[in-house]
């Protein structure tokens, strides 16, 4: 049937995107001495895409998204320094910690809209406070943790690469399976979805936990890459803000949206940063405002609206 062909084309487009990302990020270390740019590009692609799981697919706006990132960073640091786990195990521990925090916060999914967003923000602050109250010999107190003994940027780069591959696999599963269809239905009308048999609670839990694990992993890998963990940078609200902005600029609800948004905006961000160090935040802010005003559904969303015949091919 015609529809089967359409979805095959969409799957092929997505497979192309996955192949390009995999190949590109796999060979970069051989082409450049400056890993950092590509490392952070991967970081933002993962952060924005995982944000899309919960915002674009399930319809929740977790303003406290950074909490998972911060908790992941600290879990990695504590497991490595205090409990002397090898880094790979510490990172797995970070992912599990993210999942656990996600489970603990799951009851907040009963709230909707702005109420959920505000509670999520408050809980992120609570998470930061909790860590600041933990014994200093565990968390390093106000100085934070230094992981210099683990220093290995190239290995950290490839760890981020593995997280990216996991993310792409999860994105494929969440979006193209029955779970993806159910999630979109919940996003559009939770009650109507329940009335046609969707198990709302268990379906959105899958998206929620996925959206918790990835920032935790990313926080852990970034800590390893920079060798430093401290409260202010691990729980910096800009991390949430950038994840939201990159994902929305690309287009929430599409798998390729956050990827495109992160790639473009992070590039622009770096460019502005280098050219106009003092005006950096102001210029970025202006660009974001313009984007939101002109393309409220993001680049991919606007494309889908303009070329409605093609949108069935957009993953």
């Amino acid at each position: 049937m015609e529809n089967a062909r359409d979805s095959r084309v969409r799957v092929m487009v997505w497979a192309g995107v996955v192949a390009a990302l995999t190949l590109g990020f796999a060979i970069v270390p051989f082409l450049t001495d400056n890993l950092s740019f590509m490392f952070y590009m991967m970081l933002w692609i993962i952060m924005a895409s995982a944000f899309n799981f919960v915002a674009g697919l399930a319809g929740y706006m977790p303003f406290g998204y950074v909490a998972f990132y911060g908790v992941g960073a600290y879990a990695t640091g504590i497991l490595y320094k205090t409990l002397e786990f090898p880094i790979p195990l510490a990172l797995i521990g970070a992912g599990l910690t993210g999942a656990t925090v996600g489970l603990l916060l799951a009851p907040t999914l009963r709230l909707r809209g702005v109420y959920f967003g505000i509670v999520s923000l408050a809980l992120a602050m609570a998470a930061k406070l909790t860590i600041s109250l933990m014994p200093a010999d565990l968390t390093g107190g106000s100085l934070g943790l230094i992981l210099s003994s683990a220093n290995d940027p190239l290995a950290a780069y490839y760890a981020m690469f593995v997280v990216l591959l996991l993310l792409l696999a999860t994105a494929t599963w969440l979006s193209m399976s029955r779970t993806g269809t159910a999630l979109r239905a919940i996003r559009d009308d939770q009650e109507a979805a329940a009335v046609v048999g969707v198990n709302v609670v268990s379906t959105r839990m899958k998206a929620w936990i996925s959206a918790a694990v990835f920032p935790a992993l990313v926080g852990g890998v970034e800590a390893w890459y920079t060798n430093a963990i401290d409260l202010e940078s691990s729980f910096n609200l800009l991390i949430t803000a950038k994840s939201i902005v990159y994902a929305m600029a690309g287009g929430l609800g599409y798998l390729v949206g956050p990827i495109l948004g992160s790639g473009l905006l992070y590039g622009v961000d770096q460019l502005i940063w280098r050219q106009f160090p003092t005006l950096n935040l102001l210029l970025l802010g202006v660009i974001i405002v313009l984007l939101m005003l002109m393309l409220p559904r993001g680049i991919v969303g606007a494309f889908a609206q303009r070329f409605s015949k093609l949108r069935k091919y957009i993953p």
Binding site: M1, T181, D188, V195
Partner: protein, 235 residues
Amino acid sequence: MLRIEGLRKNFGGLKALDGLDFEVPPRSILGVLGMNGSGKTTMLNCINGVYIASSGSIQLDGKELTGLKPAQIFDRGVGRTFQVPRVFSRMTLWDNLAVPLLSRSMTRAERDEIRATWLKKVHLFDLRHNYAEELSGGQQKLLELARIMVSRPKLVLLDEPFAGVNPTLSRLLIDVIRDMPGETGCSVVLVSHDLTSIYELSHDIIVMHEGRILARGDAETVQSNPDVVEAYLGA
């Protein structure tokens, strides 16, 4: 098929449903009339689990539905549409019809076939790649009907299916609803203000007033009931 006994629903002090008793036989259409606020939508919400009834019993083929969640009641074979259409607005029509089939074990070919059949029946097949939000309000009502019918429900609850639908689409809708019991074996509870279509389609009619049943019977009985004339038709 459906048997309701002593159904009550209170909102605080308000008795939205004040003791309903009725039955819907297999393969039949029950028309429900009643003024604004008489409790029609509340009754449908109780049947499919959106509201929890304050008391009373709702049985489908002898099995109690009260206390089950909407998704579980859907799995028992109860489908419903909403007074204000609630389609999945940012999904295509084709994907809208995929949602009720997620929990059904069907082959892909079966799923595609029943979706195509119902989209054609409601004249929306050519728009299947459009987003549901791009449909008119009337078309969204048709989509909602198709969305519930692809799951082959035993009992279909329709809340004001004709409201906001233009006469041509209304005609189409009437024909589709009339054929549903014969074609799919389902029963229908049809809530509507549209007297003509209720009289034309219903095998049996109840008239609700302030959460109670004011009159019941076939079209003639109901039309000639003095209470109904005074409370409803005269209004």
